[in-house]
């Protein structure tokens, strides 16, 4: 179920990217897309009634949640943050240059 929610989120983000003409909204769309992807990655490691993967001697490996997707998501979040920061910086520069955030208006100039 969560898989589906993640894919819906990704599609929502893509939809936003493809339809909006506003630069800041495009950045938001990109973020929604990435959040959906991160959620999808997390669901790969999901294990019902799973426990944290720490060996204590009394638990078996079967109960563990897969820790690797979580590590991947942690990295992916940081990278997404970096991309958002650069994209916002560029968006600000576009606004300085053209005085608008609307792609249509920029295209005319």
């Amino acid at each position: 179920m969560i898989n589906l929610a993640a894919i819906v989120l990704m599609l929502l983000g893509l939809y936003a990217l493809l339809t909006t003409k506003h630069i800041i909204k495009m950045v938001v769309g990109l973020n929604v897309f990435e959040v959906g992807l991160n959620l999808f990655v997390i669901t790969i490691g999901f294990n019902k009634d799973g426990i944290a993967p720490i060996l204590t001697g009394s638990n078996s490996i079967k109960d563990f949640v897969d820790p690797l997707p979580q590590a991947i998501v942690l990295t992916a979040i940081v990278i997404g943050f970096g991309i958002t920061a650069v994209a916002l910086m560029v968006a600000r520069k576009i606004h300085e240059q053209y005085g608008t955030y609307d792609i249509n208006e920029i295209g005319g100039k």
Binding site: L14, E34, L37, V41, I72, T75, V86, V90, A91
Partner: protein, 466 residues
């Protein structure tokens, strides 16, 4: 010794340190670049386990013949790009160091997720570099397309992980070949994700906005260094990981369309930078075709030839269009630059005596053995390529009737740096040297002759080393 790790770690460390220095950041860049070039001489082939974790649990850096050439080429191109465009570095030292770490990681890593991280390090550095074009809308397009592309790549990788439980290249390949599970969808995502940076149609809408106003530094970094690294990554993916025949057919079609449309667009372009950027797209298509056909050795020569030629051409193109957009007769005052540019363009066309000849010759020999359509296409495209490159050269050499000779004052104001001329001439000389002694390539790449049957051996080498 694990020099391969230092190739990545040292630029990253220096990039971090350079943030605390106010003046003389460039010195750290020069230091990192020089140490990296020196490390290339002591670099040994082999597989390096990072952190002591055994395969498939740990991350590996793989230096087989294939990635050894890639590392060598990428670092040397970076070196020459910096010394010929050192005036344009400005505030970008930190970014350039991270970019160097990123491309080194891209070509060496043996881990799928690690590849994603290095892809992002490289592309984020590239975004920041392209902001110096002042064409922010182009940069924004690049960010959006590239971010979605690499997300698709990650989606594909994580689907494969869900299926096979590993991220290691070699383990993954073995697992895929043993199972009957369909892996078409994740492979499609991976291919699409990498195509964005490899400039394949239809994912290359960002290229024009980024390149058409790029200065020498940004142009060479993107068209020569990142392109080289990405084509090597693409080649590895297409030969080792992506095995699905439908995806291969799709990739072949995309490669052919990219080659034809790229070269035709180059033919129709007037501006010197537009010609070069469309020609880069065409070369990406050619490399994709060769890689899919299993002709790894010709593909590598095409990549080397394209990397060196594009470095020379983008550097000089920027110099030629710096003062005024009209570049007619620029070389009549700058003969040395003209010679380097002409050598690079002749090599790109594939005329004899230049390295490009062996690139085209080996590609044709390989392709003729498979069918007749592809070699015919390649020959036709070469004619188009020759037409527009020679036309460009004529424009640059001759003033024409309406052109005016530059005055002495103008000449003095646009005096190019000595290091640029020396660097471009050295690179041009290397193109001729390889053209005269092609056995150099064969010796260093396969230890055997240039001929085709050795490639099978080379392929197994490649797979075994992964």
């Amino acid at each position: 010794m694990k020099y391969s790790v230092i190739l990545i770690a040292l630029p990253l460390l220096l990039a971090f340190l350079s943030m605390f220095i106010k003046k003389g950041k460039e010195n750290l860049l020069y230091l990192g670049m020089l140490i990296n070039v020196m490390l290339l001489f002591v670099l040994e082939q082999g597989t390096y386990l990072i952190g002591g974790f055994e395969r498939p649990f740990g991350i590996t850096l793989v230096i087989d013949q294939y990635s050894y050439i890639a590392v060598l080429l990428v670092n040397l191109l970076f070196f020459f790009s910096i010394i010929s465009n050192y005036k344009q570095i400005g505030k970008h030292s930190t970014v350039l160091l991270t970019l160097l770490a990123g491309v080194n990681g891209l070509v060496m890593t043996g881990d799928l997720f690690n590849l994603f991280v290095f892809l992002e390090i490289t592309t984020i550095s590239a975004y920041i570099l392209t902001t110096s074009n002042k064409n922010y809308v182009g940069t924004f397009n690049y960010i959006i397309v590239s971010a979605v592309g690499s997300s698709l790549y990650l989606l594909g990788v994580i689907m494969l992980y869900a299926g096979y439980g590993t991220l290691d290249f070699r383990t993954m390949t073995e697992a895929i070949s043993e199972s009957n599970m369909s892996v078409m969808l994740p492979m499609l995502f991976i291919f699409a994700g990498l195509s964005v940076e490899a400039k394949l149609l239809p994912f290359n809408g960002w290229v024009k906005g980024v390149f058409s106003k790029a200065n020498g530094l940004v142009g060479t970094m993107l068209a020569s260094i990142i392109a080289t690294a990405m084509l090597f990554v693409m080649g590895r993916m297409l030969n080792v990981l992506i095995t699905d025949s439908l995806i291969m057919d799709l990739a072949l079609t995309i490669g052919i369309i990219t080659l034809v449309l790229g070269e035709l667009s180059a033919y129709n372009s007037k501006s010197i930078k537009d010609v070069l950027l469309y020609s880069s797209i065409g070369q990406s298509g050619l490399v994709t075709i060769l890689m899919i056909s299993g002709l790894i050795f010709p593909a590598i020569i095409v990549i080397i030839n394209n990397g060196i030629a594009k470095l020379i051409m983008f550097t000089i193109a920027d110099e030629a269009t710096k003062e005024k957009d009209d570049f007619k007769g620029f070389f009549s005052n700058h003969q040395l630059m003209g010679i380097a540019f002409t050598v690079a363009s002749f090599s790109l066309i594939g005329l004899p005596l230049f390295m490009g000849f062996y690139a085209k010759l080996n590609s044709l020999i390989g392709l003729f053995e498979m069918n007749l359509l592809l070699p015919a296409l390649l020959l036709l495209v070469t004619i188009v390529e020759g037409a527009y490159l020679i036309r460009l050269n004529i424009k640059l050499w001759y003033l024409g009737e309406e052109g005016t000779a530059t005055t002495e004052i103008e000449k003095a104001s646009q005096k190019p740096s000595l290091s640029m001329i020396v660097a471009t001439l050295v690179l041009a000389a290397s193109l001729i040297a390889v053209g005269l002694m092609p056995e150099v390539l064969g010796d260093s790449i396969t230890d055997k002759s240039l001929l085709n049957e050795k490639q099978i051996e080379y392929m197994t080498d490649l797979k075994g080393g992964m």
